[in-house]
Symmetry: C2
Subunit: 240 residues, 2 copies
């Protein structure tokens, strides 16, 4: 089988209310869009001055040697902090685990501005997917434990399932497969991210062609680990 991946050219710097869908390809089997672009059209740029630091934000800011207003922004976007020192590892309200709740300072205009993640990334993906009539993945760039560097991950998705379930299928010699759930959306988001690049030379959208047979249906479609199954998360909580 063969798939092709193509960056989408000609997308200008985006602002609140811009029609991002006008730039997305209508002939792809799947479109990946960077969350920064989605956040911008959804008006998720904030001035740091709009955050009034609470006592807790000031305490945490001292621990991480950060700006209390930025820490307040992280707290506003978070359901829980898994790590409070030496950096803030947050669980966002949509379930994504990311340093600083995924809030970005490098891709937005003004020294005092931050870019929040889309409020509900899968709803954002659904709006885009409906407009272009194609599955859409909204991607983020994120670090991970144990391994150096960031990779693209799926923040939201629509028109496809996050997980491909291999349960019940057999290995080469008739043994039941051990790796039963494949995070298809993350594997696609990772490769999309490689094409998007970073910074001024980057492009926030990538079209995938020929991937339809790779995207199948699974029963239980949640990408974030249930709390009770996440041993590492439990350990971090115990440690804190």
């Amino acid at each position: 089988m063969e798939t092709t991946v193509r960056t989408v050219g000609g997308i200008p710097e985006l602002s609140e209310g811009d029609d991002l869908t006008a730039y997305l390809p209508d002939d792809a089997d799947l479109v990946a869009v960077a969350s920064t672009a989605v956040s911008k059209v959804e008006g998720r740029v904030r001035s740091l001055d709009s955050f009034e630091p609470s006592n807790r934000a000031q305490e945490l800011a001292a621990k991480v040697d950060g700006d209390p207003r930025f820490v307040q922004a992280v707290l506003n976007e978070s359901e829980e902090l898994l790590i409070e020192e030496p950096f803030l590892l947050a669980v966002t309200r949509s379930g994504h685990v990311a340093p600083n709740a995924g809030i970005d300072r490098s891709n937005v205009e003004g020294d005092d501005a931050v870019l929040l993640l889309p409020r509900s990334p899968s709803e954002s993906a659904a709006r885009l997917a409906e407009a272009v009539d194609t599955p859409v993945i909204v991607t983020d760039t994120c670090g991970r434990p144990f391994r150096r560097g960031q990779t693209g991950v799926a923040l939201g998705w629509s028109g496809m399932d996050a997980i491909r379930d291999w349960r019940g299928e057999e290995g080469l010699h008739g043994h039941e497969l051990e790796a039963t759930e494949e995070a298809v959306v993350d594997e696609i988001a990772a490769y999309a991210n490689l094409h998007m690049g970073e910074g001024g030379g980057g492009t926030p959208a990538v079209g995938f062609y020929g991937v339809e047979p790779l995207v199948r249906h699974a029963e239980d479609d949640v990408l974030h680990r249930p709390k009770e199954d996440d041993i590492v998360r439990a350990a971090l909580r115990g440690f804190r």
Copy 2:
């Protein structure tokens, strides 16, 4: 820009000593090969009976409700265990962090046989890369904290750098980029894994075309986090 990814057909079930390189494409910019295939040609199949469980293996086997011989195999392949219960999360001798040290029971013949990871995955990749004169990534399928499902990751690589370093480059508005290190090998391994599939219908090799501009040189090329930088790893150690 555009890249194309093609599965390699016609690779038979492999055994120790087989010439895997004979099946790899010679026209690709990069070839990804599943570690299971590499392990098989390198003779990394073991009978469980060849492992004599130590007292420690027997203790751990009771904790994880597993076969003491299998646990001994995990211990032999591991430098350290980060989690001992309810499953074994190991750091392998090559630095990879994986449940059960990546030892596989589903893709090998015989109820009593296990497949160890390649002893030195980057040396394996180097041998393959030299033979086909193309960068090679040896991939594994692996779970991760916080997110459900497995994805492909790079176990070893040769002829390219693991990390693309964006430090010093600027964002759209002149701010220094926050995500400075991109784990390019993992992003490629993830998408390769999607094409390989699992089990009897899978193929262990994938050719990448047009990726050359995406693979650049970085200074410091290690994929596993330095111990002292890995907050999650430190927390797990403190917890245990």
